[in-house]
């Protein structure tokens, strides 16, 4: 089957500096991948390119065999959804209205269809955002907003879901809940790619970890390979140790 994403020699220059260079990646459906790396490594830029938000990249970035620049924006939005780190709404939209915005690529008429409401309802149920669906989005806490934003992306019924630091505003309970949702989606055949700073969430939940450093892929593989202590020490310039969770997943320890 055609891979979901295929990147070959992808690079990006910003103000005369290469922020990404020579990225080669192949990402298939039914995969939960985490992109990690230090600040300024190019993680969000890479995700932005894949989300179709930055078309000034060089090299080739294809989704389902077609170069991203050639996709019609609306068609692409029916396949790929993107969860930014945070969203502010200027006007009093309810949480449900924000979730229903995810149905925009599918909508044509003046009113939402039963299918739209059903998709929004399921997405809100999955993310635990149903209890505040009638509240003004702006009155929600950071964590509640994050869940609504995720629900909006899920309402797009995507084949690929891209998330930029989705756990920034979430407490421990909701961080775990979010990654469980991502795993559920992965099991349904969705490609999930998340940028994260939390190496242990990546190690604990991702099938594959891509480590970026200075705009290049420094390591790529299952968590136990990509997150080796010597690799982390070299890239993040912090000494770390490695232990295992009860389920055998790697767990990175650090501190003095």
């Amino acid at each position: 089957m055609t891979p979901a994403f295929e990147l070959a020699g992808v690079g990006m220059r910003y103000n005369g500096t290469d922020v990404l260079d020579g990225i080669n990646l192949r990402l298939d459906s039914g995969l939960l991948a985490a992109i990690v790396g230090p600040n300024g490594a190019g993680k969000s830029t890479l995700l932005g390119i894949m989300a179709g938000l930055r078309d000034e990249y060089r090299g080739n970035c294809r989704f389902r065999g077609t170069e991203l620049r050639k996709w019609r924006r609306r068609d692409y939005a029916r396949k790929v959804s993107f969860v930014p780190q945070s969203v502010t709404m200027e006007f009093p939209f309810t949480a449900e209205q924000v979730v229903l915005m995810g149905r925009a690529p599918f909508s044509a008429g003046l009113f939402e269809t039963e299918t739209d409401y059903a998709a929004a309802h399921e997405a809100m149920q999955l993310t635990g955002s149903l209890p505040f669906r009638d509240r003004d989005f702006r009155s929600l806490s950071g964590g509640e907003r994050q869940r609504v934003i995720l629900a909006s992306a899920l309402a797009q019924s995507p084949e690929a879901l891209l998330l930029d630091e989705p756990t920034t505003y979430l407490d421990l309970q909701h961080q775990v809940a979010l990654y469980r949702v991502l795993r559920t989606l992965r099991d349904r055949g969705v490609l999930v790619v998340t940028v994260t700073h939390d190496l242990n969430l990546a190690a604990g939940y991702a099938d594959r970890v891509v480590v970026l450093s200075a705009g290049e892929v420094a390591a790529d593989g299952p968590p136990s390979e990509a997150l080796r202590p010597e690799c982390i020490a070299r890239i993040f310039e912090v000494e770390v140790g490695l232990t295992r969770t009860p389920s055998g997943r790697p767990w990175i320890v650090y501190g003095e």
Binding site: G52, V87, Q97, A104, L110, F111, D134
Partner: protein, 335 residues
């Protein structure tokens, strides 16, 4: 806050309600003025009631309806497009260009060009010039964004404002009075030919804006949010700016700048019916239309036979009304 779901029942109920207000104002306002008009004499075609009604009052009310609707809609559009609750139809510079053109015509004593008053023609040219300059500046970017549009618009506002002040300072006493009066904005009786072309421009641009209601909703979450949901940002920003500028430029050329309608009406409606542009835009048009026609009617009678410029009435009435609305928000009844 209760559910703000917009189903067809709620949508058409609110459109019908707003439409009914417009019809009521359109029927009542032509009867309001310093001189009492006998409706029976109008219907019988007897002078001077017939001429007063058909040639003066009715076109004036129709102009107020068009201008109020267009300005309120342009305000709602620019607030949505720029994600700025304080944006008005005048934020992006086109009306300053129109004012500069009109002030230039007054200053140099031009009276008529072709079959059109020179002030209108000057205003059109000024609005058009600013429209193209702003598009030229913002269009130099790889993709037109609201940020560059805003910066270019604010810069043009500033330049036009300075030139208006300069011309004003050089003008003679009579011209200076005319300039001040024009800058206050006002509704006057116009011929039906003017109303016809203004209607085409205002209704056409308004329809184009309303057609894209979904895009304005998505823009409320920012450009990336909208783009990730299928919106072509450059095209939508261009369409919004051109349509809003056509509305504002055409209306300002005929009436001068009328403040407050474009700011207050969308805000007041958002408090009552929510932020969804599919309902906000048509309701803004209808309620804005009724509001301005009502204010113009009041301006004709409060100090009759003198007239209070409608821009002053909109501000005096609109400000306290808006404060009342904000205070009553917590005990609001959802429509």
């Amino acid at each position: 806050m209760g559910s703000k779901r917009i189903d067809s029942r709620r949508f058409w109920k609110l459109i019908a309600l707003s439409g009914a207000i417009v019809v009521a104002v359109m029927l009542a306002m032509p009867l309001v003025g310093a001189v009492k008009i006998d409706l029976a004499r109008v219907l019988a075609g007897q002078s001077p009631d017939y001429e007063l009604m058909v040639e003066l009052r009715l076109p004036r009310v129709l102009l107020a309806l068009l201008a109020g609707g267009g300005l309120a809609l342009a305000g709602a559009l620019f607030q949505g497009l720029l994600r700025d609750a304080l944006a008005t139809p005048y934020t992006l510079g086109v009306s300053s260009g129109a004012s500069l053109g009109a002030v230039t015509a007054i200053c140099f004593g031009w009276r008529e060009a072709g079959h059109m008053p020179a002030v209108w023609l000057g205003a059109f040219c000024g609005a058009g010039l600013v429209l193209f300059l702003v598009l030229g500046i913002a269009g130099r970017e790889r993709r037109m964004s609201t940020f560059t549009l805003l910066l270019a618009g604010v810069a043009m506002n500033s330049v036009c404002g300075a030139l208006i002040q300069f011309l004003h300072s050089m003008a003679g006493l009579a011209q200076s009075f005319s300039i001040s009066r024009w800058l206050m904005g006002g509704i006057d009786s116009v011929d039906y030919g003017t109303l016809a072309w203004l209607s085409v421009l205002v209704l056409g641009s308004s329809a184009a804006v309303m057609w894209r209601w979904r895009d304005w909703n998505l823009m409320a979450g920012g450009e990336e949010w909208a783009a990730a949901r299928g919106v072509s940002i450059g095209r939508v920003v261009f369409t919004g700016y051109v349509a809003g500028s056509l509305l504002t430029g055409a209306i300002t050329a005929v009436t001068g700048p009328i403040g407050f309608v474009g700011l207050i009406i969308p805000h007041a409606l958002r408090l009552r019916i929510g932020a969804d542009h599919r309902l906000l835009l048509p309701c803004s048009f209808l309620v804005g239309a009724a509001f301005l026609a009502l204010c113009d009617g009041l301006g004709r009678v409060v100090l009759a036979p003198a007239e209070v410029p409608v821009g002053i009435v909109t501000s005096i009435l609109g400000g306290p009304f808006f404060i009342w609305l904000l205070r009553s928000r917590s005990r609001s009844v959802r429509i």
